[in-house]
Amino acid sequence: MKEDNLKDDEGDSKEEVQLNYINQLREFVRLLALKAETDDKMASEILDILLKTDPERGISDEEIESMTSYRQSDVRKVLRLLYDARLSTYRRGKHPETGATRYYWYIDMRGVSLAIIRRKKAVLEKLKSRVAYESNNEFYKCPKDNTRYTFDVAFEYDFICPKCGSMLELDDNKQYIDILKKRISLLEEEIKQDESKVFSA
């Protein structure tokens, strides 16, 4: 991770940095789609189409359907996924011939930046509550399958694993706390930098 950051800073040209960021965005969308049980290939293909679209014009789901071989319902699923993460936005318009309501989708990069900052803050919050939990509790684990129990739960079981009957061991979570704290301080600093980047312009 550190190496990546270094690359960002040194970046030979602005275009390369830009490409790097866009690739990260692609990876992000791919993972989002995977976890939402959607076809990740389709998601990244649609993202690429949206990235090429002129934000002033936008593109409708029917147009995307005709450009690719995917079903319209699937295309809409991906668009909604992107919209849920606030990576893409839409504009309401009318069908040029029938006059039916149509939605024109596009990507506004400023919106994407804001969404990423929001996402980073949400992740930071999760990490913070995890670090509080880890440092306020003592953990015991089963030496065989590594299941973790808090002190209270382990005490109820008389420090014997309810599944296999072996003695529970004290789980040293100092490393976890160190990693979490390091990540939290890095993220906090990064969010500050990102905010100054986005809001100063």
Binding site: M1, D4, N5, D8, Q18, N20, Y21, I22, Q24, L25, E27, F28, L31, L32, L34, K35, A36, P55, R91, R92, D108, M109, R110, V112, S113, I116, I117, R119, K120, A122, V123, E125, K126, L127, S129, R130, A132, Y133, E134, R148, Q175, Y176, I179, L180, R183, L186, L187, E190, D194, K197, V198, A201
Partner: protein
């Protein structure tokens, strides 16, 4: 009533476009108070419209006093380049499972999904510990 009725079908997108065009035509800028009169809006709608455009970075506002009243002179800004460029890195959070978790908004203390007992987070922490040990070993080897 008819007047109100006549305005209704115009959606905010069309109004914004029209306003931008009007501002574009005036190279020395146009007064906010003149703009809404020209477009047939009332002052409340006008000021909201201008705020919206300013938020999008499409126009610039400059405060002026005309006839003892404060108003804004509006200028068109050159197309914001940054709206087409992404200048934020995602690399620092991509490996954390929460980043792409579909339950990120439902997850919280005391909820069904909880960051403190999340098994995915635990797996990630375990992986990170392993990674850090490997990194340390590599550093040691390099030093040798």
């Amino acid at each position: 009533m008819t007047e109100v009725h006549g305005r209704l079908p115009r959606n905010s997108d069309e109004v914004e476009k029209a306003a931008l065009e009007t501002i574009k035509d005036h190279k020395d800028g146009v007064l906010q108070s003149e703009l809404w009169k020209m477009m047939g809006l009332d002052s409340r709608e006008g000021s909201r419209l201008v705020l919206r455009l300013a938020k999008k970075g499409l126009i610039k506002r400059e405060q002026v006093i005309v006839n003892g009243r404060r108003t804004y002179r509006l200028f068109i800004t050159e197309k914001p380049i940054e709206s087409k460029l992404l200048n934020i890195s995602l690399s620092s959070i991509l490996d954390i499972p929460c980043t792409t978790c579909p339950h990120i908004d439902e997850c919280g203390l005391g909820g069904y999904y909880e960051p403190s007992t999340c098994p995915l987070m635990e797996l990630w922490l375990r992986k990170e510990v392993k990674l850090s040990i490997i990194r340390k070993k590599q550093l040691m080897q390099q030093a040798e």
